[in-house]
């Protein structure tokens, strides 16, 4: 069975980045991991969207870095929210 832990040393506060599709979130996961961003894939919080998909949670301090990486990749995002 796969390990529960797919994040390393995350403490918060957190932000999440939402995508139009699950495939988009999975592409972003690879792009961000390649740049050593500490992250965790979580279900989209219901108060942010009624999508049944997943989003990426990361340390709020990394917000600009995340925006930069995803911006350069031209991967369209639905938005970044503080949680």
């Amino acid at each position: 069975m796969l390990s529960k832990k797919n994040e390393v040393g995350q403490s918060g506060p957190f932000s999440v980045v939402l995508f139009h599709s699950i495939s988009g979130a999975l592409r972003a996961e690879k792009l961000l991991k390649a740049e050593s961003v500490s992250l965790k894939m979580i279900p989209v919080p219901r108060h942010l969207s009624s999508d049944c998909g997943i989003c990426i949670r990361f340390e709020r301090a990394d917000e600009l870095k995340v925006e930069g990486i995803l911006g350069r990749s031209k991967l369209e995002i639905q938005g970044i929210h503080q949680i």
Binding site: S21, L26, P43, D51
Partner: protein, 383 residues
């Protein structure tokens, strides 16, 4: 047993393909990305990794521009039925498989105009013939990259340039060539690229896909609509890729295998795989071509085709040759029309068809020698 039916489906597959499918079934198993728990996310990663490997293979910038289908036929149906409307004109060649011809013929009955450009009796296409057929209402050109009957390569680079110049969409059927012959979408001007997973990409049956060039999705209607895991609050199909064309739970275990197959191709390199098959084909063409009473079809030159060879023995039906190869010599191949009646009309082998032998990565030179001897024996008895 000698398996020479790799053009129908490659077999055996690299061990890593079986292992990836076993790992998915035993350790992951969940619905990809739908639910947000760790197994669901891992299943999503498996699908995404396969997308990314294919993007590497075809040099596609954005892996999300590849949509998965159950085979090349479904991908071609999305492309052809998604683009063409009554009053539109489409162009194809006389070397196509029925996965292209049947959707086009059905649309023809519903008011789409169709021009079938004739190929030479060796299966070659003059790109100038395509350009001459273009009219003001031409919407789509569909061509195979390599014939499933004789392996002949069609001039997709030239036709792609012609299509782009005239503002016509260009769809390539790469079922017989993906993984076996290089194709780079940054070089070949292609709008829609259909491929199958279970031939030279070494995936399992039930896998395939379609690359859709940036912006082209605006003019390609999806074939199916349904749940995508995205925009769940809306009763309308999303308009972004890949979700626009990927409804319902996918063949995740198949895509796990396909991912391992594409990794195998990437690790060996398409050019190295090609070189190996070209050598086998050269040997096969020389050997079979020298047998009295045997007629070879197609280019007759291993450099101008993929690893598919069609032949007949004078005075004996293709089906009879295939049965004898199977029962007396333990050699498995495919006789008949290979789902491509128009290609056989072009080659002059309709309706009898041909015996088609198709070596693959795991075929050896010794096996090719055995096949040549077997065909020689069958031909000799008849003389």
């Amino acid at each position: 047993m000698i398996y020479l039916d790799n053009a129908a489906t490659s077999w055996p597959k690299p061990k890593a393909v079986y292992q990836a499918m076993d790992r998915f079934m035993n350790q992951v198993g969940a619905n990809p990305g739908r639910s947000g728990h760790r197994l669901s996310i891992e299943a999503g990663r498996v699908v995404y990794e396969t997308r990314e490997s294919l993007a590497w293979l075809f040099n596609i910038d954005d892996p999300l521009r590849i949509i998965f289908t159950s085979n090349a036929t479904e991908a071609l149906n999305v492309a052809i039925n998604g683009v063409l409307r009554p009053g539109d004109h489409a162009i194809t060649s006389s070397m196509e498989h029925n996965s292209v011809m049947r959707p086009l013929r059905a649309l023809q009955e519903r008011g789409v105009e169709l021009t079938v450009v004739s190929c030479s009796k060796e299966g070659f296409l003059d790109p100038g013939g395509i350009e001459k057929a273009i009219k003001p209402n031409t919407r789509l050109i569909v061509l195979n990259r390599a014939s499933n009957v004789v392996g002949t390569l069609l001039p997709v680079i030239e036709v792609g340039a012609i299509a782009r110049r005239h503002g016509v969409l260009f769809c390539i059927d790469a079922a017989q060539s993906a993984g076996a012959y290089p194709l780079d979408v940054s070089f070949t001007k292609v709008d829609l690229l259909a491929f199958t997973g279970h031939k030279s990409l070494f995936g399992p049956q039930g896998t395939g896909g379609l690359y859709v060039r940036q912006g082209v999705e605006d003019v390609v209607e999806p074939l199916m609509r349904g749940g995508t895991g995205s925009r769940s609050d809306s009763e309308h199909q999303p308009d972004f890729l890949p979700d626009k064309y990927e409804s319902g739970t996918p063949n995740t275990v198949g895509l796990a295998g396909l991912g391992a197959g594409v990794q195998f191709v990437l690790s060996r390199g398409v050019n190295a795989l090609r070189e190996k098959e070209e050598k086998l084909m050269h040997h096969l063409i020389e050997g079979l071509g020298a047998i009295p009473g045997v007629t070879l079809y197609g280019s007759g030159d291993a450099r101008e085709q993929v690893a598919v060879l069609s032949f007949n023995i004078a005075g004996i039906a293709s089906s009879e040759v295939a049965i004898r190869l199977d029962e007396e010599y333990d050699i498995l191949c495919r006789p008949g029309l290979q789902c491509a009646p128009i290609a056989h009309r072009t080659l002059g082998t309709f309706p009898g068809g041909t015996v088609r032998v198709s070596p693959g990565y795991f075929t050896t030179e010794d096996e090719v020698d055995i096949v040549i001897k077997a065909v020689c024996n069958i031909a000799r008895v008849l003389r």
